[in-house]
Amino acid sequence: MNTGSAPVPGGSRGVVPPSSGGSAPVSGGSRGVVPPSQNRTMVIWCPDWPATAAALDGGHGRDVPLAVLHANRVLACSAAARADGVRRGMRRRDAQGRCPTVVLVPANPDLEAQLFEPVLAVVEELRPGVMPLRPGVVALPSPGHFYGGEEQAAAIFLERLVEHGLWDVRIGVADEVFTAEHAARQVGIQEHLVIPPGESAAFLGELPVEVLAAGSGADGSGRDGMAAAELVSLLQRLGLRRLREFAAIPGAGVAARFGPYGARLHRLLHGGAGPGVVPRTPPPERACHEIFEPGLASIETVCFSVRRTAERFVAGLADDQCVCTLVEVEVETDRGTSFARTWAHTSWFGPTDLVDRVHWQLQGATRTGLLDGPVVRVRFTPGTVEPSADHADALWGSGSDERVERGIAKVQAMLGYEAVVRPVRQGGRGPADRQAWVPWGDRGVGLRPVGPPWPGSMPGPAPTRVFPVPWAAEVADATGQLVRLTERGVLTGEPAQFRQTPPQGAFRGGAWQSVLNWAGPWPVDESWWEGGSGGLVARCQVVDAVGQAWLLRYAEGVGWCTEAGYD
């Protein structure tokens, strides 16, 4: 990108007066006692981020007029487009009318967030604990101490970001996020503004009320954006021009008249503490990725090459006495497609486990057609990190388990990840409800607790065979009349013969068999609240002439089926 031509930013500009007001904001003096806050906040703002992201993505230069459209209206535009008269909120046709050469791009929030990530990384390198507000705006605890002052810190940040390839970056430093963001909005390209401690109220007071609409939730979207737009309109109708005049309204009735947003703003204008920076926990610090140059087309090669990265990832966590139990594996192809999947592990991920996950993910992606080209990047991001002490191996006997895990992984590599399962019991009424398959390596999610009694579940020994798809069945009495269940849960006749049709590989199907003995019916009210057929469901145990026992289910409107067998 354009690092060569980038000038060194702002330098020592010190306190820049807001462009709207003539006088320096410091002169206003602070109302009441405002203790100098220890937690200063820096906000870095990249204006028109949607347009910048689109330009970066499309490889357009800075001088290309570009507008990002959402719902046929301009959401953001580049400086070049603005110079030609394109404005936010303009219709597509009007924008094209003002600037016929404008490049129109549909809005892509994912891309915006994605491209902002490297910017966050640059900032995080300088000062960890950043809090991205939205794509294009990031707040962080002001790092003044480390750089000999906030001015110097801002200058260094600007320099680094411009080196990274950003052109339009602005920085504001103040006591809290709100003021810092507005400070950033008051300066020019690659400049910064520092509001001294306790001067926030004075600075904000001089701003015209219209800045609120441009502030938090800048595109008029989001809750704050709506509230801000309403407040601006209201203040204008009241004849208030500057925020200072809004601040002069006595505090008691503000919340009632201007809503929570107005009340919060009012407090800020009086020097009350706004929200500080809540730093995001930086998982990317421990994330590892591997770039392939050129891309690798074969899954095997990718897995082979990713091994070192997996080892580095696990070793990095181990240095912190941690293990990872949930990991996100992200794969990117040379066509720019990237897909991620989160994997959980019953104990924790070792390097080979990670390689297996990559293998499965690539296999799955090949099947679904997501993998559309050679792989250029594989990235591991820890999801859940736990102290390794919690997962320490038992003194004896864990070695063989590891061997078993290897064997399982082999089968999974052959048949696919979901093909190898762990049988799990869960709560339920029917035998099929009472069990579940959990893919090996996953934790069971959404399983019903076995604990509480399940009214209507079958007593006695559990059936040894539970058919995933019930077999169609018919039950008749001695005269050959089909047996049904009445609304009162009583059988219309005594079962004397039945027949069932196993789907395939039937070893004893189709023909009528006589019923030697039977028990039931046990009615179950299971479907009326599940929005099912709403009819009565009942189960019967039937012993056939050769002494085999079956569990049959009757559902109103559906008839009989064989759910399970006591083989």
């Binding site: 399982i408 035998p431 007593p459 040894t464 539970v466 012993v543 067998g565």
Partner: protein, 192 residues
């Protein structure tokens, strides 16, 4: 081996056995599973998990491949390397060459294979005969226990049988011998 079945057959490591009935397989697998061994189940899509747990299988050490498709042999071969007891329901007809190849692998790895279905060259065949369910009574009661005769057939040896409760009233498996004796005694007493 569960003690109830010990008199019938001694499962050797490296051997393959044909077992026809699911409850019998579960009873045979429960013994190693209780001692902490891993168990693999291949091709049994209709496994009753609750019954397996009731029989005594440790579900945390049970690996199930419900539907291996055409790759059942490869799956079994991979699992033989790491698991000492495998229950297989083959999805296709097994050729003798395949079976003997797998048998070699079983011997090398000291694993035991229980097959539900045709299997050439198996050591013995276990099946249930004359099952009688107790508890159900023409619309009343429920299935409680089953009296069975387990038959072990092997080539070149006489059949062996054992009378068992599978399941018994309060246990997954129990010998029925004593009860038989008791009832005989009762008959003797009654008749004089």
């Amino acid at each position: 081996m569960p003690p109830e079945l010990a008199g019938l057959v001694q499962l050797r490591t490296g051997g393959s056995y044909r077992v026809d009935d699911t409850s019998l397989v579960l009873a045979l697998l429960a013994a190693p599973s209780r001692t902490g061994a891993w168990v693999a189940v291949v091709g049994v899509a209709d496994l009753g998990v609750e019954a397996a747990a009731e029989a005594g299988l440790d579900l945390d050490r049970t690996i199930v491949v419900p539907d291996p498709g055409d790759l059942w042999l490869e799956a079994v071969a991979a699992l033989v390397d790491v698991v000492p007891a495998i229950w297989l329901r083959p999805t296709a007809v097994v050729r003798p060459a395949t079976a003997s190849k797998l048998a070699g692998r079983l011997r090398r790895r000291s694993a035991t294979l229980l097959v539900q279905g045709e299997w050439p060259g198996c050591e013995a065949r276990l099946s249930l005969e004359r099952p009688e369910w107790y508890g159900a009574d023409v619309g009343h009661g429920r299935l409680r226990s089953r009296r069975v005769t387990v038959v072990c057939r092997r080539t070149g040896a006489p059949d062996r049988t054992a009378s068992l409760w599978l399941p018994a009233e309060e246990a997954p498996i129990r010998e029925a011998q004593e009860l038989q004796k008791v009832s005989r005694l009762a008959v003797v007493r009654e008749t004089g």
